[in-house]
């Protein structure tokens, strides 16, 4: 059968399209030139400039971003694990409602989630800041953790729980010694996903942030928007890229190891 080359050609072109802007950014972070119009030589000065005291606000934004990401992942891991167990073990009307509620925050455009939370906070007279960002991030991360943990639960051998109970384990011991260790890789993978989503978020944070609560994506955005310090953006972005790759790679590895083990 003569098969067309067209799909393979489209594939190759799309891969080029996907990588060009990112590679351009990484390469330019080592470019001596201030405007990326020419290559004038290799330098690490833009990376060094990140540590300049002038750019302290970048580090403050990074710290706040990490604080929000870690706290929102921790809370979402608890919420998501509980609701995944509820969805998996019960087939009631309540769970049908619960299922819809879990999926809506994932489907709805994040802009709508941001604006509705802002209006809600304004109506209640809540001061906007780190706390409101945290609440917003937990609201979308909990759904993602639920979906990841639910996926793990579906490949779960229920008979081990029955076995533990038969051998005299109390309900609490069965949860702590059997269910949680088996679910742990799924919970951690969900937590890492939350972490990356929280660090990644611009749109929702933009709406619910208050004065003085800048996160790294907000900071990068305003630098990009006003075209200030473009080479610095290249350097921050490259570091950001490397860190995200490591986290996602780790979470993928956890998911894969678990799938491999359950077979």
């Amino acid at each position: 059968m003569k098969s067309s080359r067209l799909p393979a050609i489209v594939f190759a072109l799309v891969v080029v399209f996907l990588y060009v802007p990112i590679l351009f950014l990484v390469v330019n972070s080592f470019n001596e030139a201030r405007f990326s119009s020419t290559w004038t030589g290799f330098t690490l000065k833009w990376y060094a400039a990140l540590f300049d005291p002038r750019n302290r606000d970048l580090w403050e934004a990074t710290q706040r971003t990490l604080l929000i990401a870690i706290s929102s992942s921790a809370v979402s891991m608890v919420l998501g694990t509980l609701s995944a167990c509820a969805l998996h073990w019960y087939r009631t009307k309540l769970q049908r409602l619960n299922y819809g509620m879990i999926y809506l925050p994932i489907i709805i455009p994040d802009l709508l989630m941001g604006i509705s939370l802002l209006l809600f906070f304004v109506a209640l007279g809540v001061t906007l800041g780190t706390m409101t960002i945290l609440i917003a991030h937990i609201t979308f991360c909990a759904s993602f953790v639920t979906v990841v943990v639910l996926g793990r639960l579906q490949g779960f051998d229920e008979s081990v729980i029955a076995a533990a109970r038969d051998l005299g384990a109390t309900r609490w011991v069965a949860i702590r010694r059997v269910i949680l260790p088996l679910l742990a890789p799924g919970i951690v993978a969900g937590g890492l996903l939350s972490f990356t989503l929280s660090v990644d978020d611009y749109v929702i944070t933009f709406f619910v942030t208050g004065p003085g609560s800048t996160t790294l994506p907000l900071k990068i955005y305003s630098m990009v928007k006003h075209s200030t310090e473009l080479p610095l953006i290249n350097a921050i972005s490259t570091i950001f890229l490397v860190v995200t790759f490591l986290i996602v790679w780790w979470s993928q590895k956890l998911t894969r190891d678990q799938t491999a083990k359950s077979h």
């Binding site: 799909p7 990326s36 119009s37």
Partner: protein, 282 residues
């Protein structure tokens, strides 16, 4: 009784959280759209249709239409690019399939703002690409690569492409490729085999891909703001301006409710078609 109590303990925390911070805010948004704006940028007392009437202002219908149009074109291009990719990936076996899938997905692990920023830097008027194209005589010295509708479309396709690739790939993975050979043996051309056998075979993935691109595309705000010009604004830009620019929260709420209604259309269509397909399998 114990089962019911356990179910409540497991369900309540997340469900209550989502009711408080997702459902109630959505209702608040609808309510505020019927309130007047207060002098100092808050929400006033009483009820009014002012914000809804303002949607008739010639500005908004144009922007609403542009939002729908750009999102539909983005969806079409994403599907057109994702189909051959899913076709190739689905046909592959073993290790290569995993490697190629990784190659396609890895760029999307990067931060969204950084990805859009990367395009802005690449297409920048002072940038290497534009200067190079000018010196090669491909574009005139007055042509801008940035701040136009083409740039917005390209970056939207760039951003939403994985949402089309993943569901199509999942469907192609389950597709039986020997059906295509059968169609060819029966005299169908390659094109006919793809349009009459492959595409109907992965229709469910196609539907999911369509919704997953269209819905977030309708809510775009960052992309037109960073790579578009003043004439490329989408509804998201107007919502952000009414919220943080001139602080007219009821107007922002009205625009958001309009956006919500528009995004509900593809959601309902996909839900309905999916259900029909489950009850009447092709």
């Amino acid at each position: 009784m114990i089962r019911r109590k356990n179910e409540a303990i497991l369900t309540a925390p997340t469900l209550l959280w989502l009711i408080l911070f997702f459902v109630v805010p959505s209702i608040a948004m609808v309510v505020i759209s019927f309130r007047p704006a207060s002098m100092y940028g808050g929400v006033g007392e009483g009820w009014t249709l002012d914000a809804w009437r303002a949607l008739g202002n010639p500005n908004y219908p144009v922007i609403l239409w542009r939002t729908v149009w750009l999102s539909l074109v983005t969806t079409l291009i994403c599907l057109a690019l994702a189909l051959p990719i899913a076709f190739v990936l689905g046909k592959m076996q073993g290790k290569w399939r995993a490697i190629l899938l990784m190659i396609v997905i890895v760029p999307f692990w990067t931060n969204f703002v950084i990805r859009v920023a990367a395009w802005r830097i690449l297409l920048h008027p002072e940038g290497m690409l534009r200067q190079g194209l000018i010196s090669l005589g491909i574009i005139g010295p007055d042509t801008l690569l940035l701040y136009n509708e083409g740039a917005v479309l390209m970056v939207m396709v760039y951003t939403y492409l994985p949402f089309a690739i993943l569901p199509l790939y999942a469907a192609a993975e389950r597709f039986d490729y020997s059906l295509l050979e059968a169609a060819r043996d029966l005299g169908a051309s390659g094109f006919t085999a793809v349009t009459r056998v492959f595409i109907p075979g992965i229709s469910r993935g196609l539907l999911t891909a369509m919704a997953l691109v269209l819905i977030p595309a309708l809510g775009s705000y960052v992309i037109p703001d960073l790579v578009g010009g003043p004439g490329d604004e989408m509804i998201g830009n107007k919502i952000a301006q009414r919220t943080l620019g001139d602080r007219n929260l009821p107007q922002a709420a009205t625009l958001s409710v309009a956006l919500l209604v528009i995004t509900l259309i593809p959601m309902i269509v996909v839900y309905y078609l999916n259900r029909r397909e489950r009850t009447h399998p092709a």
